[in-house]
């Protein structure tokens, strides 16, 4: 599980470098440059990735500390 999540994070970080869009000036929906549209999608992907990490890789020992402190 840990390796899978680490690979997911690494893949998401690599996907940030969209070299294939570097010189592409075409417009998505007629108004959004493709390079910008890609990174809007990337932001949503980042949010999804964090949701997965929170669900499957949350540091549980900190939750215990939380309960002790409370």
């Amino acid at each position: 599980m840990k390796i899978g999540l680490a690979l997911l994070v690494a893949a998401v970080l690599v996907l940030h470098h969209d070299i294939w869009n570097w010189k592409d000036a075409s417009l998505v929906f007629g108004f959004l440059p493709v390079g910008l549209a890609y990174h809007v999608g990337y932001s949503l992907l980042a949010s999804g990735t964090m949701a997965i990490l929170v669900k499957y890789a949350w540091p549980k020992n900190l939750d215990d500390d939380d309960e002790v402190a409370a």
Binding site: H16, A25, L36, H39, M50, L62, D65
Partner: protein, 571 residues
Amino acid sequence: MIPAIIVFAYLAVVLYIGIFAFRKGSTGSGSGEDFFVASRKLGPMVFLLSIFGTNMTAVAILGSSGFAYQRGIGVYALMASSSGIVIPLTLWLIGTRLWSLGKKHGHITQVQFLRDRWESGGIGTFIAIVTALMLVPYIIIGVMGGGSTLETISGGLVPYAVGGAIVAITVVAYVFFGGMRGTAWVNTFQTVLFLAFGVTAFTLIAKSVGGFPATMQAISEGPQSFLLTRERMPAEEFFSYMFIPLSAVMFPHIAIMCMTAEKVTHFKRTVVLYPICILLIWLPSVYLGVVASKVIPGLSPSEANDVIIRLLSQNTSPILAGVLGAGIMACVMASDSQILALSTVFTEDLFAYYGGRKKFGPKAEVWAGRTFIVLIGLVSYVIALALKEKANIFELAIRFAFSGFAALAPVMLAALFWKRSTKWGALAATLWVVGCVFANWHLTNISDAIAPKPPKRPAASAMRGGPAAGGGPAVQRGPQAVHQVRRTRNQAALRRLRAMAQRLLHLCWKPLRVVLQAAPQKECVLQVLVPAAPEVQVRVVLVDQAERRSHRHKCASSHSWVICSYADQST
């Protein structure tokens, strides 16, 4: 002036929130922990909005749009989408652990943790001083952004120096009274305001410029088409920016903010929603910066800082421009938590650590913090005045604050996850960062002098109205033009016209001289002589009270003489 009045009303509201927090805080313990980390009692929504608001500064709206105006859409990927993944990752990995250790051992700053981790007071003091020095530029850009926003939004009636002072005094006042509780509440209010700003500005300007598809199509077919791609953005530079958001780990205001959460589970919602919040504020800012390159061409890098305000002033009514200006101001004023953080560093890491708390008691600790807040505000204001027109907000932040703090991130990672790390290793890493920041500053200074520049026009001859040396367009200038001015019958109208033109153009070009090229008809042309810069022509339209209402959607001012547009004639 209406937009400026609305912004002043907004400033009064945030001041009230700060003082309200002071009243609530004064019923509490009145301890350092209460003042500096709100007794670690922030709820989930306030924690999310305040930690996000803390991280969104003048860079987020003014800096990003100004930088996108020059470099294009790549700015979003450069800073926003990279921050959208790296900052939540660091909050999840490091912020939660800092929170846990802080709660267990009573840490308020990250320096207290580093001191305990390596059992060395000296390394903590050194890192505290380095982080304090690197945070100052970040605070300065808040004052610069505030001064510039008020100056532009008031049409020059509130000069940069006065605007900067008003913003600095307001921020210092509510941080002084409200401490972390006041700052967090104000940040929450501000975050809601500037998130609403993005969506509203996007919609309104789209309508006003005749739709974004047409504007984007025009940009793609013109010489500015590179703005829609990253072809002028080196891949190495793009890659290096991926490390910039690591600065969030080491920014004292973010680390201190991490200590304020009531429960560690508050981080869950924060890390998931953080990328969406960044998207909501950066996408409109970057996009509108690119749109502005078509609508308001020819701005210099320092002028581009307030391109989004110019866009709003020209394309919305004064009331809406004021409301949206307040949204911009909300983002700019995130310097509050940095001022508080710097004061916390001075108070907790230096004053209290070296015996101040023992000697003078916990009440004196809070008052020392308040004194530092005033001093930091004053110093930042003085430096911001000196830097006007010398620095671009985005570059100032990147060059000194973001880069320096990002380079310090390995120190924090080693402290948390590397058992064999030592204080000497931490010292070596910090010294290396200091050396790099100085080298960066020195190299930038010397490269400014040797970089190729556009041909200059002799200032003296331009001011006297002599022949142009730079081979620019043939324009009537100097005594001849002034002679035309004297022949004009309506001298009072003429005076108003010239004063208005001076006021507006003062924002863009300085020094300058404005002479009238034609008599003040319904529509006339001003010729502006700018030493060492190309001529600028200003189209001036005379409108009366009734007409003003119908013109307001496209005019830059509510004065009798309204300047609708200007264009650099040399491009």
